[in-house]
């Protein structure tokens, strides 16, 4: 399964998080806006965990869009798309996400992105010190 995760919204338009995970090839690519920041291998446990979260969120049955609450501003939105040999589906979500299983999935993808960015930041700090 290929899972792509993109964020938009919030105060900084350029801070769009991108994550592209292929659980069959076990590869991950992260980016910000239109820039690719890095690629990595995905351990089999992590692939299994992502598939479990997608299944737990009942991803292919989720509504395609969830609009922001009336009057809301500066909120973040998340687009998740998943492709399998038999399915292709895209969901657009907006904060606050009330479904706990979907929140867990979004948190997982966000933290995977942050983990790789954290490593890049640490490397930058070492280079400048």
């Amino acid at each position: 399964m290929r899972v792509q995760f993109n964020t938009d919204g919030g105060h900084v338009p350029g801070l769009r998080r991108r994550l592209d995970i292929d659980t069959d090839k076990r590869t991950i690519t992260i980016g910000i806006a239109d820039r690719i920041i890095g690629t990595d291998e995905v351990p089999v446990e992590e692939s299994d965990e992502l598939e479990r979260l997608m299944k737990g969120a009942d991803f292919f049955e989720l509504p395609a869009t969830s609009p922001p609450p009336p009057g809301a501003a500066d909120y973040q939105s998340y687009t998740i798309s998943a492709t399998t040999p038999s399915h292709s589906y895209e969901v657009r979500l907006t904060d606050p996400i009330e479904n706990p299983r979907v929140r867990e999935l979004v948190n997982h993808l966000n933290h995977r992105w942050m983990k790789m960015i954290d490593a890049r930041l640490a490397s930058r700090r070492r280079d400048t010190s």
Binding site: D8, A73, P96, L121
Partner: protein, 359 residues
């Protein structure tokens, strides 16, 4: 009519006024007298409409209660919640009006930010809270884990702890978020393309002006005109989220990119990202406001922000108003507020400088 102030006593929902008066005058239990008095207070409008007269002692007690209720309504009423890094809203109440410092920086900054914003709107513009009716101000801190955002969900201000950002409870950001609540009450500027950029612009205007107010009614020439000053974590090249004085210069980092805000219509963003550029194109009116405030001089809350506030409340401001129409309204309101001064001409020339001509 069953709404209650303080003690809840549901039986009084259906009790006629003469019985409530008897309870006020004769009840042995203080809580029964209190509940009956509160019910009479809540029921006041309908009672007046029905022409019901109350006994003198009850009327006096009620008058005192109305006065106390009125005082409460015009006072700050802040409620700070801690979501404990979850999405459970609103979370645990950690500080309410008058409570001491909690020891948590985010909770205390949110509390102070709400206070400065409330004080500015009341003392400078005569507005009692977001709704103009003294309604409570709610803020949630520690929303989600490492969340790089602060936003307004239509009820609460929500502050993440940040990952690439830090210090999301900074005053200009808090005042910016609260002002979305004011805009929603006054104009409901549709959050897409130009009307959305105006919604963001109005929040930046009052975000910055509230900060200048809190800095002792700072002179426009002394203000930093930054939204979210010092918000980026160490290692990220940037001084703020946005700059009203110099749009497009607030951050420039290999990881997060360059601040994309234009300061002139020549560089207007026409894409669909960011709800059609609501945080991008707001740089254009932001620059115009900065020019107006700087040229008028003194505290920007004295004149420039009053012109913008009158525009926000102008019934001609529609939910899909565009930049040119908004600019025209600021010009009209400048004339109305300051008919003998040069303010309207300053407004006109400042908009022209960012590429928006007022006819």
């Amino acid at each position: 009519m069953c709404q209650r102030i303080g003690h809840r006593h549901s039986i009084f929902c259906v009790v006629p006024p003469h019985v409530l008066q008897a309870v006020v005058q004769n009840a042995e239990a203080p809580e029964d007298r209190e509940a009956a008095l509160n019910t009479l207070l809540i029921d006041g409008t309908q009672r007046t409409l029905r022409g019901i007269r109350l006994a003198a002692p009850v009327e006096q007690a009620l008058a005192a209660r109305v006065s106390a209720f009125g005082a409460r309504q015009s006072a700050k009423h802040r409620i700070i919640y801690d979501a404990h890094n979850t999405d459970t809203l609103p979370g645990e109440v950690v500080r309410t009006e008058g409570d001491p410092d909690t020891g948590d920086r985010a909770a205390n900054e949110a509390y102070d930010g709400l206070g400065h914003t409330y004080d500015y709107y009341l003392s400078e513009l005569g507005r009692n809270s977001l709704d103009g009716q003294g309604g409570p101000l709610h803020a949630v801190v520690h929303y989600l884990q490492d969340h790089d955002n602060a936003y307004w969900d239509g009820r609460y201000m929500l502050f993440g702890d940040g990952f690439l950002m830090d210090h999301l409870t900074e005053l200009s950001v808090a005042a910016h978020e609260l002002t979305h609540g004011v805009t929603e009450v006054e104009a409901q500027l549709f959050y897409y393309k130009q009307s959305g950029a105006l919604n963001e612009h109005v929040s930046d205007v009052f975000g910055s002006v509230v900060k200048q107010y809190a800095n002792g009614r700072e002179d426009a020439s002394e203000a930093d005109w930054l939204i979210g000053e010092g918000i980026w974590r160490d290692g990220i090249e940037g001084e703020a989220l946005r700059s009203m004085k110099n749009p497009g210069t607030a951050h420039n980092d290999p990881l997060i990119g360059k601040d994309p805000q234009p300061d002139h219509m020549d560089n207007y963003y026409r894409g669909l990202d960011d709800a059609g550029g609501v945080h991008i194109n707001s740089g254009i009116p932001n620059k115009a406001f900065y020019l107006v405030a700087d040229r008028i001089g003194g505290f920007s809350g004295d004149k420039a922000a009053r012109i913008w506030y009158a525009t926000l409340r102008d019934e001609r401001l529609l939910i899909r108003t565009k930049f040119k129409e908004f600019a025209q309204l600021t010009y009209i309101n400048a004339w109305n507020l300051f008919p003998d001064g040069d303010e309207a001409n300053i407004v006109k020339t400042s908009w022209a400088e960012v590429g928006i001509e007022i006819s």
